[in-house]
Symmetry: C2
Subunit: 223 residues, 2 copies
DNA sequence: CACTAATATTAGCCTAGTCTAATTATCCTC
DNA sequence: GAGGATAATTAGACTAGGCTAATATTAGTG
């Protein structure tokens, strides 16, 4: 039988946490990520385990199986293709596409994804700079990207990735003209950790709190 | 609170039956249309009545209220915009779009519909020739269209509408080269009611059983 | 090593939507 | 106008996913 959108959301959450922590994921972490109680998570873990999508060691945590990961990658591919379509063709702001894609990813068919990818000319990154898995569900090496906080005053970098899920961070970046592709001159790093940067299309410098800059990654300019 | 996709499907079914019969709709008719038991329908009727989306006269039948009709029209608009997108931009055959649209219509936001309509250049008919309600949810007068069976041998007509939901009928029409816009010369109507027609792009005539022709509507050619 | 805090699981209840079986209402025919 | 057929509703049970409260396990601290 087919997996429900809710079950799929659990798999995605577990995958995100695995990438973040590189170790088995605890019940309470999933509960926090999704916003349900630990009791609900325990029960969903049972059903996902029975379907062979994860391995559960009671009182220890869970790990996705190959099958579980495959489902997640399919979802991520659909999600990022949808986000790309929304920004590139429906004129959505890149700050507004995540929620729509997060709903639709569970309802578009594989056929739809294949055809949408062709329509979009097989894009490799989404509007937030995240890689789009290809048809074989291979994720291109997340090219070496470094948090903005690792650079030093005087350097010029290009914004590579911005967070897709945190509304406030998205709005902050949008309002200050930062998005994937924006070139930045790193003017100064203040004592309290605020970065003063000058975007390529602006005259004045913009202050970015560390709390936000930590989640923005950038590449050194090839120039 | 928001309506579930399932509740929305009930409203659509009732609306379809109302259009077809122009009288209050009975429980068993809804059950047949959706494929559930009468007991399930009775219970859903209660919830939709409580929400003011239909009026139920026990043992007599239901009628949609204005609010109920509005929800249906919004769904129909989304459905037909999606079908148009799928055929015109994702290269789906017009025979294959109904099912995808029937799922997605419940999950795309109003914002998405608005933007998709703009992207598509505000189309007024879908790939089956059905009218697309506009933003104000007005359905353009279903322009006078007559079933193919009403025409007589010797006339030339243009196919205006084909059925969107019946898989077998869709396949039959597709395989015989009939779709909205196809021009037909009505060669003969046989005693048993089979129509012999010649599509504009074919040399040979094609036989269409009455059972199918009844569901295809056409306009007399303006030529 | 025992105690406590944190975490996980289980038990039991709720809602939405489904079903079958039982009951009730309506309608049609004689 | 009564009887039987048909349709509608109600009762009661099941599943998925949620919750709270109770219980069990683990881990860390003294
Ligand atoms: Mn996203
Ligand atoms: Mn999602
Ligand atoms: Mn359709
Ligand atoms: Mn539908």
């Amino acid at each position: 039988m087919d997996l429900s959108p809710i079950a799929e959301e659990y798999l995605k959450a577990i995958s995100t946490l695995e990438t973040e922590h590189a170790r088995p994921i605890r019940t309470v972490e999933i509960a926090d990520e999704i916003g349900v109680t630990s009791a609900s998570v325990s029960s969903m873990i049972d059903t996902l385990d029975e379907r062979g999508l994860l391995e559960h060691t009671p009182y220890k945590g869970v790990e996705l199986t190959g099958d579980g990961e495959e489902i997640v990658t399919t979802l991520v591919r659909k999600h990022r293709l949808l986000e790309t379509f929304l920004t590139d063709h429906l004129d959505y702001r890149w700050t507004d596409v995540h929620e729509e894609a997060d709903r639709l990813e569970h309802h578009v068919s594989d056929e739809f994804a294949t055809r949408l990818a062709t329509f979009l000319d097989d894009p490799t990154t989404d509007p937030h700079g995240d890689p789009i898995p290809d048809t074989a569900l291979t994720v291109s090496e997340e090219s070496v990207q470094t948090p903005l906080t690792e650079y030093e005053a005087g350097e010029t970098v290009v914004v590579a990735q911005v967070p897709d899920r945190d509304h406030d961070v998205r709005e902050y970046l949008f309002e200050h003209g930062l998005e994937p592709g924006t070139e930045l001159y790193l003017e100064a790093v203040t004592a309290v950790g605020i970065l003063e940067v000058v975007p390529d299309d602006a005259d004045d410098s913009v202050s970015i709190p560390t709390k936000i800059a930590r989640h923005v990654s950038a590449r050194a300019t090839s120039r």
